[in-house]
């Protein structure tokens, strides 16, 4: 289902993103394509190194945050809401250009402290069930939780189409639903904690090929 582009529902979002890429928007009346040109060449391999360090903000930003920064700074448009169809479509379209590229997050020394922060959060017990991410995704990844297999938490295909959601969703949404699952208060979308976790997971997946848009149960 994932490998066949005509039956992968994530490709519907990639098609939408392709249309948005060339659509002029904002006060500056510019489209993504006006600066970045053809995404097929300019965006190739980009998603494989996100979240990446942003010099102006002095912290790493995720791909959808980068898209919104581009919107506010260069297109002078309003940022797209988290998990909105347009934002997911754009990030799916951009990430799709990196399909097959090995993930290279973690090579930049500037993000090192944030990866450490992510690792600390990953091993931090939380919620009423008092479980850390590592208790399932490192210690028991070969087992099952109820009927569903526990994964190693390799974020290679985000944003991905989850059959349970019946739509595309970001890695942040996936992390938040895991936190709700252990009865913890989930971090807000775009919070530095979620970006640190994303960064840590991506650095763990260093070398694995990107597969956006992936399909998962």
């Amino acid at each position: 289902m994932q490998d066949d582009d005509t039956s992968n529902p994530g490709m519907l979002f990639v098609l939408d993103g392709e249309a948005l890429w060339t659509k002029k928007t904002g006060v500056a009346d510019k489209a993504c394509a006006d600066c970045h040109g053809d995404a097929r060449s300019s965006m190739k391999g980009i998603a494989a190194r996100y979240p990446a360090f942003d010099k102006a903000l002095a912290r790493p930003v995720a791909l959808d945050q980068r898209i919104n920064l581009c919107r506010t700074n260069h297109q002078q448009a309003t940022p797209l809401p988290h998990e909105s169809r347009d934002l997911l479509a754009l990030s799916a379209f951009v990430a799709h250009q990196s399909r097959g590229t090995p993930i290279s997050v973690g090579e930049d020394p500037q993000v090192k402290p944030f990866i450490d922060r992510g690792r600390a959060l990953f091993t931090q017990r939380q919620g009423q069930l008092n479980l850390a991410c590592t208790n399932c995704h490192d210690d028991n990844f070969d087992k099952r939780l109820a009927g569903a297999p526990i994964t190693q938490g390799q974020p290679t295909g985000y944003p991905l189409y989850r059959l349970e959601w019946q739509t595309l969703g970001s890695l942040e949404r996936r992390l938040r639903s895991c936190m709700t699952g252990v009865r913890a208060q989930a971090y807000d979308y775009g919070s530095p904690e979620l970006v640190a976790l994303e960064l840590y997971l991506m650095s763990r997946a260093h070398g694995l090929p990107m597969e956006t848009p992936a399909v998962r149960p």
């Binding site: 005509t6 039956s7 939408d16 019946q166 739509t167």
Partner: protein
Amino acid sequence: MAALINVPAKARRGDIIEIRTLTSHIMETGFRHTVDGKLVPRDIITTFACRYNGTEVFRADLFPAIAANPYLSFFTVAKESGKLDFEWVGDNGYSSTASASIIVE
């Protein structure tokens, strides 16, 4: 709305061909409530039809239990070169079309 269509580009006359369609739609059931208790109104695709050079070869009725972004696959016999037209019709005046061409030798 975006649609993904898979029709073989070429076929031999008399061949049975598989046609796969995937379209973008939320397929809201009409049974769910918002957090403040309001019913979310039904918004689904109700019918799908495929015409092969103007002749209807496949039709389906869709219901609330069908998942978002409906995927339909069906078979027909390749008779002549031409065009396949697809049409999805749904609630709130929803209508979406797509087409694909096939060469029959």
